[in-house]
């Protein structure tokens, strides 16, 4: 088995794909902690559906680089949902449900109506659940994902202390002159970038798992924000690596395999957390 993995690694595109997969896992886990703690997990889920709708539009109008359309639409909806969270007329969660389900239905509908592809259900499946194999990622995908991932990690490190302050206590942060609204916006924008990038790897339906599971696992074990952040990043990257290797060897879909590994890790952390508290 090790022999067959080694054979795969001889191909550069496999190595690149694995590196990108790990980068995506890293940046989705970083902001996952904030999202979970701010009770924003559902926004991540809603955004992934929006990204699906946008992707459907992009593929129907035959854009060569779909990111040009998908990224701005997703970022726009992220801002919209964040604003709605503070609006009392339509509750935030109801708003997210409306936008996300609407985008999903709209995307599927126009794919059906206008798609020129011969394998429609295959296309839909790929956008929802990710590439059946990581080996089908194109080299442009890999490069773009790598650049965006590095940018996300950089933003997180630079604003780490601000993000902590705004996540823990928005009222206090505002009172001491921190631009809480601005940082919330930053968080929403970065989350949408993460989601768009991660869609290549795990597909739009499974992104939330990548964002939420490492953070929740780390929260079972660690006692400080830094600890939770570091642990969830390490855990997420290892799970992604293990998941990708498994999927190559066993021929299973990449996204689903990674999520399964994440769930297994969560269960281990959950039990460990319970045992430690005794």
């Amino acid at each position: 088995m090790t022999g067959s993995i080694a054979t795969y690694f001889e191909y550069p595109f496999v190595r690149y794909a694995i590196i990108v997969g790990m980068l995506i896992a890293l940046c989705s886990s970083l902001f996952g902690v904030t999202l979970v703690l701010k009770r924003f997990s559902f926004i991540g889920d809603g955004l992934s559906h929006v990204a699906f709708g946008a992707l459907a539009v992009a593929s129907v109008i035959n854009l060569t680089n779909q990111m040009i359309l998908v990224l701005p639409i997703t970022v726009g909806c992220a801002i919209l949902m964040l604003r709605a969270g503070q609006n009392t007329r339509i509750r935030g969660d109801a708003m997210v449900a409306m936008v996300s389900v609407g985008a999903l239905a709209f995307g599927y509908l126009i794919m059906n109506l206008f798609s020129t592809s011969t394998n429609l259900s295959g296309d839909v499946c790929t956008t929802l659940f990710g590439s059946t194999s990581i080996l089908t990622l194109t080299s442009e995908d890999v490069l773009l994902s790598a650049i965006l991932s590095v940018a996300v990690v950089a933003v997180f490190i630079i604003f780490y202390n601000k993000i902590f302050a705004v996540t823990f206590d928005e009222g206090f942060a505002k009172a001491t002159g921190t631009n809480a609204g601005g940082y919330n916006l930053l968080i929403a924008v970065v989350i949408s970038v993460v989601i768009v990038v991660a869609m290549n790897l795990v597909g739009s339906l499974l992104i939330s798992a990548l964002v939420v599971f490492p953070a929740l696992s780390a929260m079972r074990i660690c006692r400080s924000f830094k600890g939770v952040t570091v642990f969830s990043a390490v855990l997420s990257v290892s799970c992604a690596f293990a998941g990708m290797i498994t999927s190559i060897v066993a021929g299973t879909p990449v996204g689903a395999t990674i999520v399964m590994v994440d769930i297994a890790a969560f269960l281990v952390c959950f039990v460990t957390g319970l045992a430690a508290r005794r």
Partner: protein, 232 residues
């Protein structure tokens, strides 16, 4: 000049005015307690002082070089904080956020300040502990230490003793009193009128036409007598 002067301020939302014509001056070293029934505008008044919302009319003027980001604020606890995985050290240090400005990381002065304020509030032994594992009283003292990192001169406290047991409540009042004796100006919302008249120098009683009096005046006023009589 006063630290904060509030002139002819009216508070409210779109729906209408909650409280009108608030006039008061807060000087260095004062201890102001804001009392009144639920919905009378206590929190709205504090939000106005903090600049979260504008008064419907009137003015709030900050004097003596007090800048907006030099207010230490102790908000009511939110549900998010109750299971937030953060160490006491991280939380206290985050009080230096305004000082750090756009600099991404804290410098040694700020860390020193965080350590000093933890000592001051007697929570240094918890530095590495997880916030959510502390008792309610300990959590409040941690948040006070954080507020002190944000401001040496003025603290605004929103019901700092709500949900605390009697012992922790007494300790908290004691700690706040001690800070006031050291020269920190205190503005505090309180449900407990008896405690308010015991510790405060001034009382702001919120209602549709709020009353601002010194403690002695309040004790002797009909309004004060009425409220103090109701309490056990």
């Amino acid at each position: 000049m006063a630290l904060i002067s509030v002139s002819n301020v009216s508070l409210g939302y779109d729906a209408g005015i909650i409280a009108k014509d608030i006039n008061l001056e807060i000087n260095n070293g004062d201890y102001l307690c804001i009392v009144g029934e639920n919905g009378s505008g206590k929190s709205t008044f504090i939000k106005t002082l903090l600049g979260f919302q504008r008064p419907l009319s009137g003015k709030v003027i900050f004097g003596e070089g007090l800048r907006k980001n030099e207010i230490g604020y102790l908000p009511q606890q939110t549900s998010v904080q109750k299971d937030f995985p953060a160490s006491v050290w991280e939380i206290v240090l985050s009080g230096c956020q305004a000082r750090a400005g756009l600099r991404p990381f804290y410098n040694s002065d700020e860390k020193k300040m965080a350590r000093e304020n933890m000592k001051r509030m007697n929570v240094e032994e918890f530095a590495g502990r997880c916030y959510r594992q502390l008792s309610g009283g300990q959590q409040q003292r941690v948040l006070l230490a954080r507020a002190l990192c944000a401001s040496r001169s003025l603290l605004i406290l929103d019901e700092p003793v709500s949900g605390l047991d009697p012992k922790a409540t007494a300790d908290m009042y004691e700690a706040i009193k001690k800070l006031n004796d050291e020269g920190v100006t205190i503005i505090m919302i309180s449900h407990d009128v008896n405690a308010a008249v015991r510790f405060a120098t001034h009382i702001l009683h919120m209602r549709s036409n709020p009353v601002f009096l010194t403690k002695e005046e309040y004790k002797n006023s009909d309004l004060g007598k009425c409220y103090l009589a109701v309490e056990p």
